[in-house]
Amino acid sequence: MSSRTSGVVLSIVAPLVLFVLLAVLWQWAAATFKSVLPPIQDIVMDIADRPDFYLTNLGVTVEAALLGFAIGVGAALLLGAAIVHFTFLRSAIMPVALLLNVTPIVAIAPALVVAFGFNQIPHIIVAALSAFFPTLINSITGLRAIDPQALEVFDAMAANRREIFFRLRVPASLPFLFAGARLSVTAAMVGAVVSEFTGSSKGIGAVIVMATTYLNLPQMWAAIFFSAITTLILLGLVGLAERLIVRW
């Protein structure tokens, strides 16, 4: 019992100690090197001053990120399912997907604004492209990660493809899909924020750019902070969903 308690204490105290250390380091840097980092209290005060400003812009970003996440993950799931069933699709799609994965998507964000205009579409596309690859990889791995002996049981009953897919592959792939979703939701948020660096006057990315334009360091770091915290919350939600759904 005592070792468990000390474990819990440790897992709270240890990161706190590190965070306090990092905060002290931050404050020292903020005091010593002007214009590099703002003092933490300035960030806190800025957030306290106008929470609505941040929350409104955060809402815009989260909307783009979640829509992009849904689209990217949806496409990845469909393609993953198709690839598992038709081998030639794998050879066709994987090189393109790989190429997409190694492309700095941020660099093509401006081109997307040119193509789709000043609305949420380019940011949603960037979020979707960012979210696509991790889920694709994980869905392919997951849909294949079936117990071959279980597959034999299905085959011996003359189960058709649909039955094998929905009663065997899909449930078996869920732990992998959630691992992919965790990567994808992070990528979608970062993608949405970064794509808002151009072609948007709303959203956390735009707030960051505005802050750079006017050298408003507290605003910049407050925005980065909101983006990071939100991603953590989204990660938590994915984890919660996993715990509710994957109970085995």
């Binding site: 034999e152 049981v153 449930p171």
Partner: protein
Amino acid sequence: MAPATATSTIELTGVGRTYTRGKKTVQALTGVDLTIRQGEFITLFGPSGCGKSTLLRLIAGLDTQTTGDISVFGTTPKQASGRKDIAWIPQSSALLPWLDIKRNASLSSVINKRADRSGATTRKPEDAVDILNEIGLADFLESRPEQLSGGMRQRASIARGFAQGAPLMLMDEPFSALDELTRDTLRLRLLELWDRHKKTIVFVTHSAQEAVLLSDRVVVMSPRPGRIRQVVDIDFPRPRSWELVETPEFVAKVAEVKQILWSAWEGDE
């Protein structure tokens, strides 16, 4: 329970299976002639790589022979499996971890429902819960597989096979992953079920003792290339129990079966 088809036997004539991997070919099975009678408990016995699993998979329609013919109840294995006339019980329990034991055991009721609706079936699905009761899992209907011991999981897997109601059950070393004591109990449980449900069972094992204890006939096989060495009749009266194992006749029969194996096969494992 008697199958409605013209023939209730499984006939294998000149069956062979060759695997090609790149430029290498492996003759996994060659010249297998065998007739399995209705209601029989027949065991395939032999060392690793002698083609036991290959033969069982051919009968199940999970794989196709390269030479020879296989007839299961008068049709091809694939047609028989299309009628859900073949229940497959693998080595690992291969239960679905996301389903409770009851749903696992009644898996066949949600798969290939067309076979259930077509009148021509020789098969009548049985109530999974009844069989789980018979096999001693009455208290674990709602449990998930991970909450059960290895032996209990294997029972659930066997229950799943019986619940399918297929006249033919194929079992590929269903007890080999279990510890010996668990195995001992499950062997007798299986004999009880078989006795009550009158299935034809083709059973694969590495254990001469298990083969002799369970079977009407033991098919002794040898590898490179995989083939049938001899078919040994086992005439001990049924129902069989642990007392039988201690009789000199039983010990002699086990020795005889092993002897066929050793004489056929010069490798050292």
